[in-house]
Symmetry: C2
Subunit: 192 residues, 2 copies
Protein backbone atom coordinates (compact mmCIF):
# COMPACT_ATOMS: atom_id res chain seq x y z
CA UNK A 1 0.00 0.00 0.00
CA UNK A 2 1.69 3.15 -1.27
CA UNK A 3 -0.47 5.68 -3.05
CA UNK A 4 -4.14 5.50 -2.61
CA UNK A 5 -7.34 6.70 -4.26
CA UNK A 6 -8.09 10.42 -4.17
CA UNK A 7 -11.19 9.60 -2.17
CA UNK A 8 -9.12 7.55 0.29
CA UNK A 9 -6.61 10.37 0.62
CA UNK A 10 -9.39 12.83 1.36
CA UNK A 11 -10.80 10.42 3.96
CA UNK A 12 -7.35 10.09 5.53
CA UNK A 13 -7.01 13.83 5.74
CA UNK A 14 -10.41 14.12 7.36
CA UNK A 15 -9.51 11.37 9.83
CA UNK A 16 -6.37 13.24 10.88
CA UNK A 17 -8.33 16.45 11.48
CA UNK A 18 -10.96 14.58 13.51
CA UNK A 19 -8.32 12.86 15.62
CA UNK A 20 -6.56 16.17 16.16
CA UNK A 21 -9.78 17.94 17.12
CA UNK A 22 -10.22 15.41 19.93
CA UNK A 23 -6.61 15.11 21.03
CA UNK A 24 -5.88 18.84 21.09
CA UNK A 25 -8.89 19.49 23.31
CA UNK A 26 -7.96 16.58 25.56
CA UNK A 27 -4.22 17.15 25.90
CA UNK A 28 -3.73 20.73 24.76
CA UNK A 29 -1.99 21.93 21.59
CA UNK A 30 1.42 21.26 23.16
CA UNK A 31 0.30 18.02 24.77
CA UNK A 32 0.33 15.89 21.63
CA UNK A 33 2.85 15.80 18.79
CA UNK A 34 2.56 15.27 15.07
CA UNK A 35 3.92 11.71 15.27
CA UNK A 36 1.46 10.62 17.96
CA UNK A 37 -1.39 12.30 16.12
CA UNK A 38 -0.56 10.37 12.95
CA UNK A 39 -0.20 7.12 14.88
CA UNK A 40 -3.61 7.72 16.49
CA UNK A 41 -4.94 8.16 12.95
CA UNK A 42 -3.39 4.84 11.88
CA UNK A 43 -0.53 6.34 9.88
CA UNK A 44 3.16 7.12 10.18
CA UNK A 45 4.37 10.65 10.77
CA UNK A 46 6.13 11.16 7.45
CA UNK A 47 2.95 11.62 5.44
CA UNK A 48 1.73 14.50 7.56
CA UNK A 49 3.09 17.19 5.25
CA UNK A 50 1.25 15.79 2.21
CA UNK A 51 -1.89 17.09 3.94
CA UNK A 52 -0.86 20.07 6.05
CA UNK A 53 1.81 22.72 5.74
CA UNK A 54 2.56 22.77 9.47
CA UNK A 55 1.25 21.72 12.87
CA UNK A 56 -0.18 25.24 13.25
CA UNK A 57 -2.15 24.69 10.07
CA UNK A 58 -3.68 21.53 11.53
CA UNK A 59 -4.37 23.31 14.81
CA UNK A 60 -6.43 25.91 12.97
CA UNK A 61 -8.35 23.29 10.99
CA UNK A 62 -8.95 21.03 13.97
CA UNK A 63 -10.23 23.95 16.03
CA UNK A 64 -12.56 24.99 13.22
CA UNK A 65 -13.89 21.43 13.03
CA UNK A 66 -14.44 21.35 16.80
CA UNK A 67 -16.54 24.51 16.54
CA UNK A 68 -18.53 22.97 13.69
CA UNK A 69 -19.20 19.93 15.86
CA UNK A 70 -20.29 22.19 18.72
CA UNK A 71 -22.64 23.99 16.37
CA UNK A 72 -24.10 20.74 15.05
CA UNK A 73 -24.63 19.37 18.57
CA UNK A 74 -26.15 22.55 19.93
CA UNK A 75 -28.17 24.47 17.37
CA UNK A 76 -31.92 24.29 17.22
CA UNK A 77 -32.07 23.21 20.84
CA UNK A 78 -34.14 25.01 23.48
CA UNK A 79 -31.96 27.24 25.66
CA UNK A 80 -32.66 25.03 28.69
CA UNK A 81 -31.25 21.98 26.87
CA UNK A 82 -28.29 23.95 25.61
CA UNK A 83 -27.37 25.10 29.12
CA UNK A 84 -28.10 21.70 30.64
CA UNK A 85 -25.73 19.98 28.24
CA UNK A 86 -23.01 22.59 28.51
CA UNK A 87 -23.01 23.05 32.28
CA UNK A 88 -22.75 19.34 33.14
CA UNK A 89 -20.46 16.72 34.69
CA UNK A 90 -20.07 14.96 31.39
CA UNK A 91 -18.99 18.12 29.58
CA UNK A 92 -16.50 18.85 32.36
CA UNK A 93 -15.09 15.32 32.22
CA UNK A 94 -15.12 14.60 28.49
CA UNK A 95 -13.00 17.48 27.31
CA UNK A 96 -12.16 15.83 23.99
CA UNK A 97 -15.76 16.08 22.79
CA UNK A 98 -16.52 19.43 24.41
CA UNK A 99 -16.44 23.12 23.65
CA UNK A 100 -13.12 24.33 22.20
CA UNK A 101 -13.44 27.69 23.95
CA UNK A 102 -13.37 26.17 27.42
CA UNK A 103 -10.77 23.53 26.48
CA UNK A 104 -8.30 25.71 24.56
CA UNK A 105 -9.63 29.27 24.38
CA UNK A 106 -7.71 30.50 27.42
CA UNK A 107 -4.51 30.10 25.39
CA UNK A 108 -5.84 31.56 22.14
CA UNK A 109 -3.83 34.75 22.60
CA UNK A 110 -0.65 32.66 22.77
CA UNK A 111 -1.26 31.14 19.34
CA UNK A 112 -0.19 32.26 15.90
CA UNK A 113 -2.54 33.96 13.52
CA UNK A 114 -4.53 31.33 11.68
CA UNK A 115 -5.53 29.81 15.02
CA UNK A 116 -6.45 33.07 16.74
CA UNK A 117 -8.96 33.99 14.05
CA UNK A 118 -10.62 30.59 14.21
CA UNK A 119 -11.20 31.09 17.93
CA UNK A 120 -12.61 34.58 17.41
CA UNK A 121 -14.99 33.26 14.74
CA UNK A 122 -15.93 30.32 16.98
CA UNK A 123 -16.81 32.62 19.89
CA UNK A 124 -19.01 34.74 17.63
CA UNK A 125 -20.78 31.61 16.37
CA UNK A 126 -21.27 30.37 19.92
CA UNK A 127 -22.86 33.66 21.02
CA UNK A 128 -25.13 33.68 17.97
CA UNK A 129 -26.28 30.14 18.72
CA UNK A 130 -27.36 31.16 22.20
CA UNK A 131 -29.09 34.25 20.86
CA UNK A 132 -30.98 32.12 18.35
CA UNK A 133 -31.89 29.69 21.10
CA UNK A 134 -33.34 32.55 23.17
CA UNK A 135 -35.30 33.92 20.22
CA UNK A 136 -36.75 30.55 19.24
CA UNK A 137 -38.13 29.91 22.71
CA UNK A 138 -40.64 32.71 22.65
CA UNK A 139 -41.82 35.50 20.36
CA UNK A 140 -39.20 38.09 21.22
CA UNK A 141 -40.60 40.70 23.50
CA UNK A 142 -38.13 42.07 25.94
CA UNK A 143 -34.64 43.39 26.23
CA UNK A 144 -31.38 43.10 24.40
CA UNK A 145 -31.13 39.51 23.17
CA UNK A 146 -27.52 39.89 22.11
CA UNK A 147 -26.52 41.11 25.57
CA UNK A 148 -28.47 38.30 27.19
CA UNK A 149 -26.72 35.81 24.91
CA UNK A 150 -23.29 37.20 25.78
CA UNK A 151 -24.06 36.97 29.47
CA UNK A 152 -25.20 33.35 29.19
CA UNK A 153 -22.18 32.51 27.01
CA UNK A 154 -19.80 33.80 29.69
CA UNK A 155 -21.70 32.04 32.45
CA UNK A 156 -21.55 28.69 30.65
CA UNK A 157 -17.86 28.96 29.73
CA UNK A 158 -16.98 30.30 33.18
CA UNK A 159 -18.81 27.45 34.89
CA UNK A 160 -16.89 24.80 32.94
CA UNK A 161 -13.51 26.49 33.28
CA UNK A 162 -14.02 26.98 37.00
CA UNK A 163 -15.31 23.43 37.49
CA UNK A 164 -12.27 22.04 35.65
CA UNK A 165 -9.84 24.25 37.53
CA UNK A 166 -11.43 23.03 40.77
CA UNK A 167 -11.58 19.38 39.67
CA UNK A 168 -9.11 18.18 42.32
CA UNK A 169 -11.81 19.09 44.85
CA UNK A 170 -14.72 17.05 43.55
CA UNK A 171 -17.28 18.48 45.96
CA UNK A 172 -16.38 22.06 45.02
CA UNK A 173 -16.35 21.27 41.31
CA UNK A 174 -19.81 19.70 41.52
CA UNK A 175 -21.10 22.62 43.59
CA UNK A 176 -19.92 25.08 40.94
CA UNK A 177 -21.73 23.18 38.20
CA UNK A 178 -24.97 22.64 40.14
CA UNK A 179 -25.15 26.24 41.32
CA UNK A 180 -24.26 27.69 37.93
CA UNK A 181 -26.82 25.60 36.10
CA UNK A 182 -29.72 26.15 38.47
CA UNK A 183 -29.18 29.91 38.61
CA UNK A 184 -28.83 30.13 34.83
CA UNK A 185 -32.06 28.18 34.35
CA UNK A 186 -33.87 30.43 36.85
CA UNK A 187 -32.72 33.53 35.00
CA UNK A 188 -33.75 32.08 31.65
CA UNK A 189 -37.22 31.25 33.03
CA UNK A 190 -37.46 34.87 34.16
CA UNK A 191 -36.68 36.12 30.65
CA UNK A 192 -39.17 33.92 28.81
Amino acid sequence: MMRVTKEQAQATRRRIVETAAEQFRDRGFDGIGVADLMKASGLTHGGFYRHFSSKDDLMAEATALAYEQLERDTSNKPIEDLLGRYISDSHRDEISAGCPTSALGGGAMRQMEPVRSVFAQGVETWIEMIEKSLDDGNAAIDGDRRAQAIELATRAVGAIVLARAAAANGRLSDEILATSLSRALEDVARID
Copy 2:
Protein backbone atom coordinates in the same frame (compact mmCIF):
# COMPACT_ATOMS: atom_id res chain seq x y z
CA MET B 1 30.57 34.68 43.11
CA MET B 2 29.90 31.08 44.08
CA ARG B 3 27.96 30.45 47.26
CA VAL B 4 25.95 33.21 48.67
CA THR B 5 24.33 34.22 51.94
CA LYS B 6 21.35 32.20 53.15
CA GLU B 7 19.29 35.37 52.88
CA GLN B 8 20.50 35.92 49.32
CA ALA B 9 19.68 32.33 48.41
CA GLN B 10 16.18 32.75 49.80
CA ALA B 11 15.78 35.97 47.83
CA THR B 12 16.96 34.18 44.68
CA ARG B 13 14.44 31.45 45.22
CA ARG B 14 11.66 33.97 45.69
CA ARG B 15 12.76 35.81 42.54
CA ILE B 16 12.53 32.59 40.51
CA VAL B 17 9.02 31.89 41.78
CA GLU B 18 7.93 35.46 41.02
CA THR B 19 9.36 35.32 37.51
CA ALA B 20 7.72 31.95 36.94
CA ALA B 21 4.35 33.20 38.23
CA GLU B 22 4.42 35.89 35.54
CA GLN B 23 5.91 33.86 32.71
CA PHE B 24 3.68 30.83 33.16
CA ARG B 25 0.55 32.97 33.03
CA ASP B 26 1.87 34.85 30.02
CA ARG B 27 3.21 31.97 27.93
CA GLY B 28 1.58 28.92 29.46
CA PHE B 29 3.29 26.14 31.46
CA ASP B 30 4.68 24.61 28.26
CA GLY B 31 5.51 27.98 26.73
CA ILE B 32 8.61 28.68 28.82
CA GLY B 33 11.38 26.34 29.86
CA VAL B 34 13.53 26.04 32.95
CA ALA B 35 16.58 27.58 31.23
CA ASP B 36 14.70 30.67 30.03
CA LEU B 37 13.04 31.04 33.40
CA MET B 38 16.41 31.05 35.12
CA LYS B 39 17.85 33.49 32.60
CA ALA B 40 14.87 35.81 33.17
CA SER B 41 15.71 35.58 36.87
CA GLY B 42 19.34 36.54 36.17
CA LEU B 43 20.78 33.06 36.72
CA THR B 44 22.00 30.05 34.77
CA HIS B 45 19.87 26.94 34.48
CA GLY B 46 22.12 24.61 36.44
CA GLY B 47 21.21 26.03 39.82
CA PHE B 48 17.53 25.37 39.37
CA TYR B 49 17.55 22.05 41.22
CA ARG B 50 19.13 23.55 44.33
CA HIS B 51 15.75 25.25 44.84
CA PHE B 52 13.13 22.99 43.25
CA SER B 53 12.84 19.26 42.76
CA SER B 54 11.27 19.59 39.31
CA LYS B 55 9.57 22.00 36.92
CA ASP B 56 6.22 20.67 38.17
CA ASP B 57 7.24 21.63 41.69
CA LEU B 58 7.88 25.21 40.54
CA MET B 59 4.60 25.23 38.60
CA ALA B 60 2.72 24.44 41.79
CA GLU B 61 4.57 27.08 43.80
CA ALA B 62 4.28 29.74 41.13
CA THR B 63 0.55 29.12 40.77
CA ALA B 64 0.10 29.35 44.52
CA LEU B 65 1.96 32.67 44.53
CA ALA B 66 -0.20 33.97 41.69
CA TYR B 67 -3.31 33.19 43.73
CA GLU B 68 -1.80 34.96 46.76
CA GLN B 69 -1.17 38.02 44.59
CA LEU B 70 -4.75 37.89 43.32
CA GLU B 71 -5.98 37.72 46.89
CA ARG B 72 -3.81 40.66 47.96
CA ASP B 73 -4.95 42.79 45.02
CA THR B 74 -8.61 41.96 45.42
CA SER B 75 -9.65 41.43 49.00
CA ASN B 76 -11.37 44.11 51.02
CA LYS B 77 -12.54 45.81 47.86
CA PRO B 78 -16.19 46.63 47.17
CA ILE B 79 -17.73 44.11 44.79
CA GLU B 80 -18.13 46.83 42.14
CA ASP B 81 -14.39 47.52 42.18
CA LEU B 82 -13.57 43.82 42.17
CA LEU B 83 -15.70 43.22 39.07
CA GLY B 84 -14.53 46.42 37.38
CA ARG B 85 -10.90 45.40 37.74
CA TYR B 86 -11.44 41.79 36.74
CA ILE B 87 -13.69 42.37 33.74
CA SER B 88 -11.45 44.93 32.02
CA ASP B 89 -9.29 45.50 28.94
CA SER B 90 -6.17 45.68 31.06
CA HIS B 91 -6.87 42.34 32.73
CA ARG B 92 -7.53 40.77 29.33
CA ASP B 93 -4.30 42.18 27.89
CA GLU B 94 -1.91 41.82 30.82
CA ILE B 95 -2.19 38.12 31.37
CA SER B 96 1.07 37.89 33.30
CA ALA B 97 -0.32 39.90 36.19
CA GLY B 98 -3.85 38.52 36.03
CA CYS B 99 -5.97 35.76 37.49
CA PRO B 100 -4.36 32.29 37.26
CA THR B 101 -7.73 30.63 36.77
CA SER B 102 -8.44 32.43 33.52
CA ALA B 103 -4.81 32.24 32.34
CA LEU B 104 -4.08 28.59 33.15
CA GLY B 105 -7.11 27.01 34.82
CA GLY B 106 -8.53 25.55 31.62
CA GLY B 107 -5.59 23.16 31.54
CA ALA B 108 -5.60 22.31 35.25
CA MET B 109 -7.00 18.83 34.59
CA ARG B 110 -4.03 18.13 32.31
CA GLN B 111 -1.53 18.78 35.11
CA MET B 112 0.01 16.46 37.66
CA GLU B 113 -1.13 16.35 41.24
CA PRO B 114 0.62 19.10 43.16
CA VAL B 115 -0.56 21.62 40.56
CA ARG B 116 -4.16 20.42 40.38
CA SER B 117 -4.69 20.89 44.10
CA VAL B 118 -3.28 24.40 44.03
CA PHE B 119 -5.83 25.34 41.38
CA ALA B 120 -8.69 23.79 43.35
CA GLN B 121 -7.63 25.71 46.47
CA GLY B 122 -7.23 28.89 44.42
CA VAL B 123 -10.74 28.61 43.02
CA GLU B 124 -12.17 28.15 46.51
CA THR B 125 -10.27 31.21 47.72
CA TRP B 126 -11.50 33.23 44.75
CA ILE B 127 -15.13 32.34 45.45
CA GLU B 128 -14.73 33.17 49.14
CA MET B 129 -13.27 36.57 48.27
CA ILE B 130 -16.33 37.43 46.20
CA GLU B 131 -18.63 36.19 48.93
CA LYS B 132 -16.84 38.38 51.47
CA SER B 133 -17.04 41.31 49.10
CA LEU B 134 -20.81 40.83 48.81
CA ASP B 135 -21.25 40.54 52.58
CA ASP B 136 -19.17 43.63 53.33
CA GLY B 137 -21.20 45.80 51.01
CA ASN B 138 -24.37 45.62 53.04
CA ALA B 139 -25.76 43.97 56.15
CA ALA B 140 -26.63 40.59 54.70
CA ILE B 141 -30.31 40.35 54.11
CA ASP B 142 -31.27 38.25 51.18
CA GLY B 143 -30.54 34.99 49.50
CA ASP B 144 -27.70 32.55 49.26
CA ARG B 145 -24.47 34.55 49.29
CA ARG B 146 -22.35 31.55 48.41
CA ALA B 147 -24.46 30.83 45.35
CA GLN B 148 -24.36 34.49 44.33
CA ALA B 149 -20.58 34.46 44.73
CA ILE B 150 -20.24 31.34 42.58
CA GLU B 151 -22.36 32.89 39.87
CA LEU B 152 -20.32 36.09 39.84
CA ALA B 153 -17.08 34.07 39.88
CA THR B 154 -18.13 32.18 36.76
CA ARG B 155 -19.30 35.35 35.03
CA ALA B 156 -16.00 37.12 35.68
CA VAL B 157 -13.84 34.16 34.59
CA GLY B 158 -16.07 33.45 31.61
CA ALA B 159 -15.94 37.07 30.47
CA ILE B 160 -12.13 37.10 30.46
CA VAL B 161 -11.74 33.69 28.85
CA LEU B 162 -14.26 34.58 26.13
CA ALA B 163 -12.72 38.02 25.58
CA ARG B 164 -9.26 36.44 25.20
CA ALA B 165 -10.51 33.69 22.91
CA ALA B 166 -12.15 36.39 20.78
CA ALA B 167 -9.15 38.74 20.91
CA ALA B 168 -8.43 38.47 17.17
CA ASN B 169 -11.73 40.31 16.68
CA GLY B 170 -11.15 43.41 18.77
CA ARG B 171 -14.67 44.74 18.44
CA LEU B 172 -16.19 41.45 19.59
CA SER B 173 -13.74 41.11 22.45
CA ASP B 174 -14.52 44.63 23.68
CA GLU B 175 -18.24 43.99 23.33
CA ILE B 176 -17.98 40.88 25.50
CA LEU B 177 -16.18 42.78 28.25
CA ALA B 178 -18.46 45.83 28.17
CA THR B 179 -21.65 43.78 28.14
CA SER B 180 -20.46 41.37 30.83
CA LEU B 181 -19.37 44.14 33.17
CA SER B 182 -22.44 46.32 32.84
CA ARG B 183 -24.82 43.39 33.32
CA ALA B 184 -22.85 42.11 36.31
CA LEU B 185 -22.92 45.56 37.91
CA GLU B 186 -26.67 45.86 37.31
CA ASP B 187 -27.27 42.51 38.98
CA VAL B 188 -25.07 43.42 41.93
CA ALA B 189 -26.97 46.69 42.38
CA ARG B 190 -30.18 44.65 42.40
CA ILE B 191 -28.83 42.41 45.19
CA ASP B 192 -27.62 45.19 47.45
